[in-house]
Subunit: 146 residues, 3 copies
């Protein structure tokens, strides 16, 4: 385990609109508020979910047609090399029978009626990612090794 | 997207008791502490889950008999017209095979052995909802449009 | 319902490594930072999940082979008698079809590529647990009865 510690600077609470893409809109909320290190939560409904399942260096793509409830969603905002913003989130969606499906949020998750978003910004320190070549993933690169 | 920003005022950590209704007890925790703008999380067990699936202006009702684990639960506290408190939460429950079901929390979700609740109150600003006539939902009505 | 209130002292953000056990590593993160009262969130991937389903005084054990996505994970840090640290967490995992499974986190949940952990520490008050003999569970024992 490696870690950093920080106070909390502030929160941003947002409502997303119909047809907004989850990943894009979370990134917009962060950029607009100059946030580069944060964690977030979200509930709402989706027209369509695109879930990632990581295996052997890549994400398999799982599409679920909506309408779907966003039963749970959480993740974080960080930066990778060149200070490019990274939104990393995982989600659980449920269908008309209540059956639940989950995975990594990929582009293409489209908001239906609404999505309600909470972002909690770190006060100090920057969440940074570096490429892990073996896994082909940008992993958090934090200061203190435990 | 529309949003507000705020610091965090405080947290309330609570344990719910057997047979308490999730929505009612979350509302009680908020009222007792004069909280009208907050987000929350909860884990525990349920005797019965009543899940909502929103479609075409109304919630379909999905009942799941317990005992069930509350594998995830998150949501927010806000006010609608006339300052009536609104608890909006989504939940994932799981059964004896580990199979997961999710949805919007409807009245009738009854605590079994225990539920452990975390509420995080906003410092400033009020989360308000207004009726969206087209969708027949009270949606968050936040200040700044992005 | 019984509850305590508290400000937030700080957060700890950590990355867990391959083959680390979720419960053990969360406990290490807390101990290393002298945290005894907190709540937490986590996303990532698992090599194997061991889920608990509580019924009649004990946890049934449900094993799910990986790789799995950790679609959601949340819980809290508290102390029981003798100031022994307790990590209580619930989790939702998903497989290659996106199908979701959930439950109480038991020992044996092993990190695969990574897990990203957020811990939020309480500023004041201690989350304490006491044995509930009827249920054979250590339940939160908080100050104020509502």
């Amino acid at each position: 385990m490696k870690y950093i510690e920080s106070g909390i600077k502030r929160t941003v609470l947002a409502r997303f609109f119909e047809d907004e893409d989850l990943l894009e809109t979370i990134a917009s909320a962060a950029k607009q508020n100059n946030v580069n290190s944060a964690f977030f939560f979200l509930i709402g409904t989706l027209k369509k979910a695109v879930l990632g399942y990581y295996q052997k260096g890549k994400y398999e793509r799982i599409e679920k047609p909506g309408p779907l409830e966003i039963a749970s969603c959480m993740g974080n905002i960080s930066v990778k090399e060149e200070d490019e913003l990274v939104v990393h989130g995982h989600i659980v969606v449920s269908d008309s029978k209540g059956e639940a499906f989950g995975g990594h949020i990929l582009p293409g998750c489209l908001v239906d009626a609404t999505a309600e978003f909470v972002l909690v910004e770190m006060e100090s320190g920057t969440l940074r990612r570096q490429l892990d070549i073996k896994r082909n993933l940008y992993l958090l690169s934090l200061g203190k090794q435990l």
